[in-house]
Symmetry: C2
Amino acid sequence: MNNEGLQVTGKGLNGIKGYKYAGIKCGIKKSGKEDMALLFSAVPAVAAGVFTTNKTKAAPVLIDLDNIKNPVTRAVIVNSGNANACTGKKGMENALRMVDITARLLGVDHREVLVSSTGIIGVQLPMDNIESGIAKAVQSLTADGGDAAARGIMTTDTRDKKTSLKLRLEGGEVTVGAIAKGSGMIHPNMATMLCYMLTDAAVEKGLLQEILEETVNDTFNMISVDGDTSTNDSVIAMANGTAGNTVITRKNGDYYKLLAAFKAAAEAMATEIVRDGEGATKFLQVKVINAPTIEDARIGAKAIVSSSLVKAAFFGEDANWGRILCALGYSGADFDPSKVDMHFSSSKGTIKLVNMGEGLDFDEEKAALILSEKDIEVVVDLHCGEYKSTAWGCDLSYDYVKINGSYRT
Amino acid sequence: MNNEGLQVTGKGLNGIKGYKYAGIKCGIKKSGKEDMALLFSAVPAVAAGVFTTNKTKAAPVLIDLDNIKNPVTRAVIVNSGNANACTGKKGMENALRMVDITARLLGVDHREVLVSSTGIIGVQLPMDNIESGIAKAVQSLTADGGDAAARGIMTTDTRDKKTSLKLRLEGGEVTVGAIAKGSGMIHPNMATMLCYMLTDAAVEKGLLQEILEETVNDTFNMISVDGDTSTNDSVIAMANGTAGNTVITRKNGDYYKLLAAFKAAAEAMATEIVRDGEGATKFLQVKVINAPTIEDARIGAKAIVSSSLVKAAFFGEDANWGRILCALGYSGADFDPSKVDMHFSSSKGTIKLVNMGEGLDFDEEKAALILSEKDIEVVVDLHCGEYKSTAWGCDLSYDYVKINGSYRT
């Protein structure tokens, strides 16, 4: 990825032109913390979305799949603490009401509003709280409400997640900002990953969708939590064109610059989600290089970082390269087992463990020192082509089991 | 499955006509326990095999994939303690030597011998021990050596696994016996699942292969350990025709009777493997019923029992039906989420948790009582067809992480 010209500003959503935000408390969460966020574009914007592939889709996702087709989008209303999933007909009615109330109070069409919910599954939304919450959120909208909005979408996250970047396109400087929620080790029912990526760039709706899909493929789809795809996962992008750049209407230089900015922002959010895994003690970056196709590189890297055995080995700081070869082997990736090299790295150094598919008689003490660090990189060289992919994950710890064994009750 | 006429005798391999077995100690395992097994048919037998789909296949598996094509098979030589996987050219030479020595000492052709290894990955076999071991095994062959052979294939198994059944076919009573190894929670590098199914029935080689494949699909492929397919997984069947039954040459009544016996024996072995999971505290049986196709039923049941979140919930005795619907949703199975019913059962009773896709306001105390048992059954009714499938698994416990975090070193 070419990140030339990207300036990280770290302000999250604040400072993107033409948007207002709110993050408020409406009493859904017993903790009394923020549990609603509203993102609003002062002018008609275009939106793009990537949603869960789970067949059991929560009511808000079903609505978004429809409303995202509207040429114009103005707002996203989000509640946390309750996922409105597996809630049947009444759940769908409630999600529609969230959209309708938001649209009416903002004075926009109901097709211009998207909705997300995250939290516990199978419980109906407390609609009194939701209704008064939306009214409060609409009243609270301000240009610097981005941080409150970032808090409003959190569930078990230990910290809010936000990023922003500036870049120069033809005709103007644009900003891409994002907020996200989700925890690396995935929390039952709270497992949902949500991300909102806003920009003031001017770009056609179809191209924004292409940018978002490629971005998600390389980032959110390359993190392993525990393989369970939630009923509510959503990544939504909006672009309102207020930056004054020349509208991007084809895959020109500006398109690829904007794509690079989206990827950089999404990678920051995706890796933040992994790092925020309650119970995670290690951050793993797995690179599969010199693969015959990009798909082989992706599925190989993803399988390695998703393996419970690999994850548990890193928790134990055990240089168990056999499990990595094993995961690569069942991933479905095309490669020649007799050509594979493997290295582990951390700030303590690099060690080669596998040469041409065979285990080396490596220095166990050096390996232990490298694995004692929190950030570990695994590089698997297939020597079978020129494609590469990176996946991110965390280890499997006692706390993962503890947290996930007693969540609901 | 129609198990009419099947008589469980529980003798393992002993008592199947025309075979001899050995299980001996040759010093591969530091523990000094049995680490080699030899299975030998006194007369030419036909064999069938189902092997790991992992692209990284251990040397013995590569040899078996070739030798299984031979019309006649006489013996299987197995060592435990070392998997001879990721051992390159030398590993292949060593596996071939195991076959050659066994064939020479037994006076059979090298193409008539199959070989398996299980244990640590990436370390060359101690060939001195292997060679003297094979000689000792050949000398130790006896008709009642089945139990020693069952011990000889164990790695982290806490107990040996064996079963046998008798059934009457046209022209004679036949016996099907099996031994297996593998642990439910899967042990790093030792993850391999091995099973040997022997019978004195007379059946054509091609039909034996069909019987074995259908058997494996319904049994070993329906247990979840942790999703990692090992480099060495093998299920091998032999039939030597010494029982005197009319040779099975087509899919007649006897074919289906023999198939039922194989399935019953394999189900016993597969569930034993799940129950022997060190660190496992629960045994889960997941039935997906009324699915549109058998494949939908299978992938749905398998996804549920394989989900880390579902497993962790059962460890915590938490009636978290939302995670089960979620796993079903991402499984790829075809179903209508608004038609799903779900029940949990144990010896303490049955409770309905989901009706037509929506969570019920169930009795939490009753659910807790049911989940306090070791054996739990989950029934998911899709109301979308007439196919069903059962998967077996265990919970995800602290001990899983402990065992798998510190295996290799």
